[in-house]
Amino acid sequence: MTITAPECLLRLYEEHPDLEDYQGGAPRWCAGCGDNAILAAVQRLCRDEALRPEKTAFISGIGCSSRFPHYMKTYGFHGIHGRALPVAEGVRMARPDLHVFVSTGDGDCCSIGAGHWIHAVRYNMNMTVFLHDNHVYGLTKKQASPTSPRGLRTNTTPRGAYLEALNPLTVTLGVQNASFVAQAVDWIPEILYSIVSAAFHHKGFSFVRILQRCPKFLPDLFDPWLHDPQKVLVLTHDNGLQLSPGLAKVHKNRREHDPADLDRAREIASGADPIPVGILYRNPGVPCYEDLRRSGKLRTGAFVRAGLEAELDKFTIWPQGHA
């Protein structure tokens, strides 16, 4: 089939969206907030993958990070604190045709929603999950979160946080059926984008922890890492992250890591300094819960009716004389 040149151009225009096609409301995060970097990477992903906005859903809970869906021009669901994952699971189960993304924070995911997080990893439903981890509660104004480093002074820990921080990477990698675990930092956009893209292309529960700066409450927290590329351990591999020549010049602290190696992934995940960045683990062979559960049968009225009548038959007492 041949088409005319103007039509060809028209299609090119229609089918190749711009960034604006995914930009919703103007972000109201603080200036310098790491969430802006995540938003930019994700909008770029949507454009590059030409995702249809109406077929894309961003689900979130409560917190600064969970404002994310409002800034996308797709379908969004800004729910209640800690419950983004089970809502997203319901969406995924009902609608295999949608692209499902989740934005959640360290309080939302690792504290109030921690139970859901563990199980979401095990369900391994096909969705891309961003853990915006800034180590502090921002929306409620500076309380300690489960990932706050020990000693961090906050409004609920004025003499310093009492406990060692929870490590979301080791937790996720410890759960049966983990299929994609990666870490990025908001201040290296190229790596952030590469990881977001790899996560999107993985079929299963893609968990990306993104270390994210909170300029309002913890302005200096990540400074040592920000200012010294040596303190970032970049994980590279033919099947994982690959650096551009430019970035490779800056980030010399690199390690070859095969994302198929779970034991090594767990070992790397347990290190906090230098910060490991890259794809820690990927296993495309883990089945997705929705695929295990959905029969794929077309639910026509006649089909459902036949099923119902067959069940009713089991309990029926026919009047005498019934054939």
Binding site: H78, V91, M93
Partner: protein, 643 residues
């Protein structure tokens, strides 16, 4: 129960005729209440359910009630371990478990004592007691048995000792395991039930096992039947008023699950909890055959959130739970209210608060269903009034949820959950089914919350619809679903969501009055008590009392015409299974008396002086108890009028 049937006084001592088989006199009855009780795990429930099924197949009216201990394996021969069934058999339709038992089969004297103490047996009740314990080597057990036996005989019970285990020993290796089918055979003989149907029922009950198991159980059944024919000097017959329509026999939880199937919903998210779970057990078994999914979530909150996610994405979903789970879901329910996401929430109520009485019936969650979430969160609350209604309520709930984009709570309870009753087989209607998710493009300029000024209704935008993109939020929002800080916008949202209840109310019909439309006393009820209330009202009307009743299936919104209906009676009283303070308590007066839930609603809405009576004993409220309450209320009202 139909009014004509209810109006007949219950007659148990009927005429006698010689039995053709054994030459025994056969007593014809209009109804009888049978209990089969054993230690947990001895199969008395299978026996009772099978008896009910056989009688139902013969065309009898049947209501079966499970007697359930709270623990899975309570200690043997203990009063708290009493487990079994009550089976009310009658000529016509049976709508509740009745008052006291006429005949009981007990596998040991301890479980019998439990029911005796609870006042569950009629004076002079026939007791068929396993005699194994009389000669038990443990002296204490033998003494306990003899003491109880003597006590029962002295109290006027007709006690027959039955060597169930001894008789079974020649047929099966584990005689204790076979006693339930022996008992079933005995009961089939005693009530002149068709042995052929009984054999079929046994085959059905053990159908999943191998042929040897079925044969062994049929042998036990026949042995029990033969023993009763040969050894017992009495026999009953309850003539059946045959139905011309096919009937189905299920318990309330199975009816709920069938309703989910029939409603066209395809996702149910749940977390195990008593007594709701058996609905999900059944649904898990059948739902996938028609492309549905039962998702057992990691907790109650996740189950509700999962259902909300599925509903948001275009497939109205259901979550099924009981009291404590319902409390946990409340925040998520509020989100569905705020986002105007259709959702069906089933709460099979049990005793509360807290863990309460997990296996026992109570109607304690009505106000929690109406007002459970924080803030103004209007939702629809329905209550299934019987087993049949469990089926239809779910279909109606799904339809309302999707028409009004609201949360619909359907209340059932532990009484309906496990009770069985035959009712007309539902005739499938295309209108029951949910339509597929709308995927058409949203018209230009339309907004996700274009609230209609009259009804508060707005068209819902579902993911996948081009040009409908928006972010649904639990925050106060405007018509475009943008987060709103403007006081007027917040009020507009609350206003619109509230209007929807009024819009639904306009579509409801005034419920029918059972009895005359005017009189001395109107009894109002909701939920599982309909059968018992109407039977009691029927009995008293037959005695000439000017009492009627009304039963509410919609509690929020209340249907129109209720005030006018109440005003045609001199007094109104609710009968409920939730607490109300008792007037006889010295400290209780009009200034501090806590009313039962429905009474409180009716009083506050209609400014009518509604009285209430309640019982929270974990048991279904009995018609005889309601008769006494109504008599007392009539007397109290007449007394007050005289003063």
């Amino acid at each position: 129960m139909s009014e004509t049937l209810a109006a007949q006084p219950v007659e148990n001592a009927g005429r006698q005729a010689p039995s053709p088989a054994s030459g025994k006199a056969i007593t014809t009855l209009s109804e009888h209440i049978v209990e089969v009780i054993s230690d947990s795990g001895e199969g008395a429930q299978v026996c009772g359910q099978s008896l009910g099924a056989i009688a139902a197949r013969m065309g009898n009216g049947v209501w079966t009630l499970e007697i359930i201990p709270a623990e899975i394996e309570p200690p043997a021969r203990s009063t708290e371990g009493a487990s079994g069934s009550r089976i009310r058999l009658g000529s016509g339709r049976m709508t509740n478990c009745g008052d006291q038992a006429d005949l009981v089969v007990a596998f040991n004297e301890q479980v019998l004592l439990a029911r005796l103490r609870a006042g569950e047996f009629k004076p002079g009740c026939i007791v068929l007691l396993e005699s194994l314990w009389r000669t038990h080597p443990d002296k204490e057990i033998a003494a306990s048995y003899l003491q109880t036996h003597a006590r029962l005989a002295a109290a006027g019970f007709r006690v027959y000792e039955v060597p169930m285990e001894r008789e079974c020993r020649s047929l099966v290796a584990d005689a204790r395991r076979g006693a339930n089918m022996f008992a079933l055979g005995m009961l089939c003989g005693l009530y002149s039930l068709d042995l052929r149907l009984a054999r079929e029922q046994v085959a059905r009950a053990f159908g999943s096992k191998d042929a040897g198991v079925v044969a062994a159980n049929v042998a036990l059944l026949e042995a029990g039947h033969g023993w009763a024919e040969a050894q017992l000097d009495f026999k009953f017959r309850i003539p059946a008023l045959r139905s011309l329509e096919p009937q189905i026999v299920v318990n309330g939880n199975t009816a709920l699950a069938l309703g989910v199937l029939a409603s066209g919903m395809e996702i149910c998210a749940m977390y195990p909890i008593t007594p709701a779970t058996s609905a999900s057990h059944y649904l898990s078994n059948v739902f996938e055959k028609v492309g549905g999914v039962v998702h057992q979530a990691e907790d109650e909150i996740a189950a509700c959130s999962f259902a909300i996610g599925a509903s948001y994405a275009g497939k109205c979903a259901v979550t099924i739970t009981s009291g404590p789970g319902f409390s946990l879901k409340q925040e998520a329910i509020g989100l569905a209210v705020m986002g105007e996401i259709p959702l069906v929430v089933v709460n099979v109520q049990r005793g509360g608060p807290s863990t309460g009485q997990p296996t026992k019936a109570e109607q304690g969650d009505l106000l929690a269903a109406m007002f459970g979430s924080h803030g103004d969160a209007p939702k629809v609350v329905m209550a299934a009034s019987g087993i049949e209604d469990c089926f239809y309520s779910i279909i109606t709930a799904r339809k309302i949820a999707e028409t009004f984009n609201m949360v619909v709570v359907v209340l059932s309870d532990a009484n309906l959950a496990t009770s069985q009753q035959p009712f007309p087989r539902p005739k499938f209607s295309e209108a029951w089914m949910a339509p597929p998710a709308d995927q058409s493009a949203v018209p230009e300029g339309a907004r996700p919350y274009d609230w209609n000024a009259l009804t508060g209704l707005a068209r819902r935008f579902v993911p996948g619809q081009p040009e409908g993109m928006h972010t649904l939020t639990g925050l106060a929002h405007d018509r475009r679903s943008r987060v709103a800080y403007d006081p007027e916008i917040n009020e507009e949202g609350i206003h619109s969501r509230s209007l929807k209840l009024a819009a639904l109310q306009k579509t409801l019909k005034t419920p029918p009055v059972f009895g005359d439309p005017e009189g001395e006393l109107l009894v109002a009820g909701w939920g599982s008590t309909q059968g018992a209330i109407e039977e009691a009202v029927g009995r008293l009307r037959a005695e000439g009392c000017k009492v009627s009743s009304v039963h509410l299936r919609f509690l929020q919104p209340l249907p129109p015409g209720i005030k006018e209906l109440m005003q045609r009676f001199k007094a109104v009283i609710t009968i409920e299974g939730n607490w109300c303070d008792r007037r006889e308590d010295e400290i209780i007066d009009e200034g501090n008396r806590r009313y039962s839930a429905l009474a409180m609603l009716l009083r506050s809405r209609y400014l009518v002086d509604v009285d209430c009576w309640s019982e929270v004993r974990g048991q279904p409220i009995k018609p005889g108890t309601i008769c006494r309450v109504i008599r007392e209320a009539l007397e109290r009202n007449r007394e007050a009028a005289r003063r």
